[in-house]
Symmetry: C2
Subunit: 342 residues, 2 copies
């Protein structure tokens, strides 16, 4: 709230000796052709010297565009999301849009409330990074014509645009890498099977194992209830308690891999000598662990960029059919993988 009132369109018009309507047209590139070139120049000049800034609220009221989009994420604190958000903002900002971030904490009730809040704020579109496989709310929004793009996950029955990393390929890379090192009994600590990534990765794991002719033992695949270290540790402990033999682990994501590290420290298992581990995501600082984690690198920033672009496309051409992009992944080999002992 500046002490000096910021000038309005009327002020500019008055100072330029024209009517507000003319000033409006002169300032808007799209309608500038309707006014005399000299007049337009004069108005623009005056607007500049007065430091005129159109009031987006007033503009929004008339045009029913808010210039904002909602970013729905589970938790900003999860290191996965900041790079995605940056990618999104990096595209949104030059286009004149701003992002409103809400955190759902993966709580469906909270998610509903937060999305309501966003709609109340008249966001023009949504970028959603929280889709569970089962997701009636999103289906409903989609039916109501809310523009949206889904990130990282896909929800059944919602044919909205989406941008995802090629999870199947990522898992294949990981399994291939371990197989190349000579591992034959590889365990998979899968993510929650209510998330689309969780199922896709687990399925891809099974497919890769089969394809490469490695040991297919159902006991080697465990799933975690959350994408967390605790759950990862729990799953690994169960695996060990059951006496299942394995020489390598493909973790559902880096957090789960971190849980493995905790168990290793606890039980005196050395990595990669006793067991190799591959993570997923390439979280920041994950390369600083001992040993540095071999993991599948996801181009998070790029994911955000693509998502924002797709949303903008959708806003500009409402009839454009939804499309999906699949971003390629790469395996970053570090110190947590080695040939099996003996």
């Amino acid at each position: 709230m500046p002490a000096v009132q910021t000038p309005t369109l009327r002020d500019v018009a008055e100072a330029a000796g024209v009517h507000a309507a003319t000033a409006s047209r002169a300032l808007n590139p799209a309608t500038r052709g309707l006014v005399n070139a000299d007049t337009a120049r004069r108005v623009i000049k005056v607007a500049e010297t007065l430091g005129y800034r159109p009031n987006p609220i007033a503009r929004g009221l008339k045009t029913s565009r808010s210039g904002t989009v909602g970013l729905v994420i589970p938790d900003l604190t999860n290191p996965l999301f900041p790079p995605i958000v940056r990618g999104i903002e990096d595209v949104l900002e030059p286009a004149g849009y701003s992002g409103l971030i809400v955190n759902t904490d993966n709580d469906p009730g909270r998610e509903r409330a937060q999305i309501e809040l966003l709609r109340g704020r008249q966001v023009e579109g949504l970028i959603v990074a929280t889709a569970r496989v089962e997701h009636p709310l999103l289906q409903q929004l989609h039916r109501e014509g809310v523009k949206m793009v889904m990130v990282n996950r896909r929800a059944d029955g919602v044919d909205a645009s989406s941008v995802t990393a090629d999870d199947a390929e990522g898992v294949a890379l990981a399994v291939q890498h371990l197989a190349d090192l000579g591992h034959r009994r590889i365990a998979h600590l899968a993510g929650p099977q209510v998330t689309s990534t969780g199922v896709v990765r687990a399925k891809a794991f099974r497919a890769s194992v089969r394809e490469l002719g490695l040991d297919e033992d159902p006991a080697l695949v465990r799933s975690c209830d959350f994408w967390s270290e605790e759950e990862g540790a729990k799953a690994l402990r169960r695996l060990l308690d059951d006496g299942v033999e394995f020489t390598a682990i493909v973790a559902g994501n880096d957090l789960i891999a971190l849980g493995c590290y905790d168990v290793f420290a606890e039980l005196g298992i050395t990595c990669p000598d006793d067991v190799s581990v591959v993570g997923f995501n390439d979280m920041p600082f994950i390369d600083k662990l001992r040993p540095p984690l071999t993991t599948v690198a996801v181009p998070h920033h790029q994911v955000g960029v693509e998502a924002a672009r797709m949303l903008l496309e959708g806003l500009e051409e409402p009839d454009r059919p939804p499309r999906s992009v699949l971003l390629p992944l790469t395996l970053t080999v570090r110190g947590s993988t080695a040939p099996p002992r003996g």
Copy 2:
């Protein structure tokens, strides 16, 4: 953009058989007393069944309040900030405000542009986490009466409200801890001396060393140009190249400590046997390093909460004088510190 037009105040009024003005008053708790209780009830009921949501854009136009505040941070990708942002949002949201995040990348030009953008969007206040010591822009904004709260850092000549962690105390805790372990020659890899935290911590370091009667050697204090691993590594290498003797390091922050880890690995120095290290911030996952980093824990979430509260206070009572809160810190002792060898 829902397919069914969302109902407006007029629709509600019409359905309830009253004038829009009456409906407005009935719906607003502050003015509800002006209308007949029965009427009010009826209007509220109708509003509910129609699913009426006041349009904040229209409301904002009339009340010249946007319900948004700007969050100015250097880079969301820096793990320091997400918890702060969450803390802020957690307070803002129940109060009916939303935060607009902008990243400045510590570039003054970009910062200026981003803040202009925020002001253009009619934010009611600013939470700024990027203050350099020298900061004409903030001074100007402050003079113009823009409400703001500064986080983590303070800028000279701007007597706006601020919330900071008690950096001096944190450094004192770190030095004390090392002294207790028996270290006498402690190095300090300080942060950039153009940031307020950088200077405060360096000054506190010198004071603590003096107070505890440890070796005061100017050669033991080096400063980095950025708060980064690379800079930390560079500073440590310089220190070693110069042949300066020391048994422990107080790093300006965790990133700088991470840089030390890199140099250790490079040169075969073992931590904490050869050298102890204390970090600052207690970044997420920093406890997963080998060895887990002893560091000063900053209550980031709390910092955000306090900042948001102070801003809201300022918005509600514009005449309230600025105030500053200093949050206490704690030392989290982990595996990177031990008594000096021999």
